[in-house]
C-alpha cells in the first residue's frame, strides 16, 4: 500500500505546483482560496479567476489524460505480453487523428460534422477504428494477438495516409491539424474535464480490478486457461475498457505519445511487475508525468506554447530507445 500512498502524495504536490506556476504566480494560500471560492461558484479577484477558469481545469485534464493513457498502456502491454505495446497499438490514434482532421478540414461545409466537433469526431473514429480492427482480426471466434496487431498497424497506416492527404488538400488548415495531432491542453475547460470524467471512470474501474487476471495471463494462454481464467473474454473486456479510456483521452487532448509506453515501464522498474500494483501506480504516475510535461510545454517558451506531445516525445523517445537496446541485448 505504501507505494500507492507515496505516489498519491507526489501527484497532489505536482498538481498544486502546476496550478501555482504560470504567467501569474500564485501562492499556495491563494490557490486554496481560489478553489474554495470556485467550488462555491463565485471567484473574486483576477488571480482566483485564472486559477479556477484556466489553471485547474488544465491541470486536472492533463492528470486525467495522463492516467488514462498510462493505465491503458499498462493494460495493452499486459494483454499482449509485449513491452512495446502502447494504447495506440490497435489504431486508436490514427483513427482519432483522421476524425479530427476531417472536422478541421470540412467544418463549415458539412453541418453535422461541425456539430460533432473535433473531440466528438476523434472519439467516434478512435472507437470505430479499434472495433473494425477487432472485427478484421477475428479468427474462429477468437482474437489472436498477432492478427490484432497486424490489423491495427495496417488500418492505422491507411488512416494516417488519409490524414496526410487531408493536410495536403487543405494546406491552410494543415498547421491546425498538425498541432492537434501533437496534443495540447490549451483548450482545457471544466466542460472538457466533466465530459471525459464519466467515460474514464467507466473504463478505469474494470482495469484497476484486472490485476490478478493480467498476472495470470503472463503465464501464457494455456496456463492461464488451465488456472480457470476465461482468457478470450478477459482479453476482450480489457481491450474494450483500455480503448474507451484511450479514445476519451485522445478526444480531449489530441494524440499524446509516449505516456502510455514509457510510464508503465518506469513503474515496472521501480515497483515491480505485479499488475495489482502496476495498474494503479501507472495511472498515478501517468498523471504526474503529463501534468509536468504540460507545465514544461506552457512555461518554457512562454507566452508561446509547445505542443505537449513534443515534450513527452523528447523525454519518452530516448527512454524508448534505451528500452529497445536492452531488449536486443537480451
Amino acid at each position: 500500500m505504501a507505494p500507492v500512498v507515496l505516489s498519491l502524495v507526489a501527484l497532489v504536490v505536482v498538481l498544486v505546483a502546476a496550478a501555482s506556476v504560470g504567467s501569474v504566480a500564485i501562492r499556495p494560500f491563494a490557490l486554496v482560496a481560489a478553489v474554495v471560492d470556485g467550488v462555491q461558484g463565485h471567484a473574486h479577484g483576477p488571480a482566483e479567476t485564472i486559477v479556477w477558469q484556466l489553471r485547474l481545469p488544465r491541470v486536472l485534464l492533463a492528470a486525467l489524460v495522463g492516467s488514462a493513457l498510462a493505465l491503458a498502456g499498462a493494460t495493452f502491454q499486459g494483454v499482449f505480453r509485449n513491452p512495446l505495446a502502447d494504447p495506440y497499438l490497435l489504431g486508436a490514434a490514427s483513427g482519432a487523428g483522421f476524425g479530427a482532421s476531417a472536422v478541421l478540414v470540412l467544418a463549415g461545409s458539412v453541418p453535422w460534422l461541425t456539430r460533432l466537433g473535433v473531440p466528438g469526431a476523434a472519439f467516434a473514429c478512435a472507437l470505430a477504428t479499434v472495433v473494425l480492427v477487432m472485427v478484421l482480426a477475428r479468427r474462429d471466434g477468437g482474437l489472436p494477438a498477432v492478427s490484432l496487431i497486424l490489423a491495427g498497424v495496417v488500418l492505422g497506416s491507411i488512416l494516417s495516409a488519409g490524414t496526410s492527404f487531408l493536410m495536403l488538400a487543405a494546406r491552410d488548415r494543415a498547421a491546425g491539424i498538425l498541432s492537434w495531432l501533437l496534443g495540447s491542453f490549451a483548450f482545457a475547460s471544466w466542460d472538457r474535464v466533466l465530459s471525459v470524467l464519466p467515460l474514464l471512470v467507466v473504463a478505469t474501474v474494470p482495469l484497476l480490478l484486472a490485476g490478478r487476471a493480467l498476472d495470470v495471463m503472463q503465464l501464457g494462454e494455456e496456463s492461464a486457461a488451465q488456472l480457470g481464467v476465461p482468457v478470450e473474454r478477459v482479453r476482450l473486456a480489457l481491450l474494450a475498457a483500455a480503448t474507451l479510456a484511450t479514445a476519451a483521452a485522445v478526444a480531449v487532448a489530441g494524440v499524446i505519445g509516449f505516456v502510455g509506453l514509457v510510464v508503465p515501464h518506469a513503474v515496472r522498474l521501480a515497483f515491480g511487475a505485479r499488475h495489482m500494483r502496476l495498474l494503479p501506480l501507472s495511472a498515478l504516475w501517468g498523471a504526474v508525468f503529463l501534468v509536468l510535461a504540460d507545465l514544461f510545454a506552457r512555461t518554457v517558451l512562454a507566452p508561446a506554447e509547445l505542443p505537449v506531445g513534443i515534450v513527452t516525445a523528447l523525454v519518452g523517445g530516448p527512454f524508448f530507445l534505451l528500452l529497445l537496446r536492452r531488449q536486443r541485448s537480451r
Binding site: L209, L219, A225, Q226, L227, G228, G272, A273, R274
Partner: protein, 263 residues
Amino acid sequence: MSIEVLELYAGYGRGDVLAACELRVEPGEVLGVIGPNGAGKSTLVRVLTRRLAPRSGGVTVDGRALARIGRLELARSLAVVPQLPELPAGFSVRELVAMGRTPHLGLLRPERVEDRRAVDRALRATDTVALADREATRLSGGERQRVVLARALAQRPRYLLLDEPTNHLDLRYQVEMLEYTRREVDRGVGALVVLHDLNLASRFCDRLVVLQAGRVVAQGTPTQVLTEALVSRVYGTRVDVHTIGARPLVVPHLPEGALAADP
C-alpha cells in the same frame, strides 16, 4: 472417483490421432503414458486440458463429463504441469506459486489465510521455500520446473497432469520432480504422467499405458507391460529387458559391431 477416458476419438483435420483410447487414473496412483513419437500422447493431453474437443467418446472427472465442468471447478480438481512452462519476468517464486490459488479465488477476491497456507505448503512440498523471494527467471531449469510443480500443488488438486515433466532436466532434478509428485500421490492425489524415458516410467509409475498410433496397445504394471516383445514391437527397435530392483530395465539392443569398444 477417478479420471476416466472412454472410447475416445480425437484428432485434427481428417484423420483420428486417438482412436478408441481408454484409460483411467485413480486417486493415490501414478499412471504413466508412454509410446513412441506421434503415438497420440500430446493429443491426449490436449483433450484432457480441453484445448481439443473429442470427436466422440469422452472424459469424465469424478463421474462428471469433462466438457460440463466449470473452468474454476476443473482447475480445482485437475492441475497441469505443462511441457514448456513460461515464467514471466518480474515475478518472485512466491508470486508465481500464488497464482495457483486463482481457481479458488476467481479474478477479484483477495488472498485469504488459507491461500497463503496452501502456497507455503506447496513451497515446502517442492523444497522451494529458500527460493521464495527470488525472481523465477533467474533460476536454473530444474528449479523452475519445481516452481511450476509448486504452482500446480497450490491449486490443491485431486489430480495432477504432468506432460513430460523431466524433459531437459539433469538426472538429479528428474528424480526430484518424480519424488515430489510421488509424495503428493501418497497423500491421495491421482497423477497422469506422460514420460519419454521408459526406465523412469518403470521405476516411478504404478501402472503404464502404452499408446501406439492412437490406440492403447498395452496396459498394466511396468513388469506386465515392459516386455522385450512389446517394447521392441511398439518402438520398432530391438531392446533387452533386465530386471533390477523388481522393476524392468529397458536397454537398447545394439548389434556387436555398433557397440563402442571397451578400452
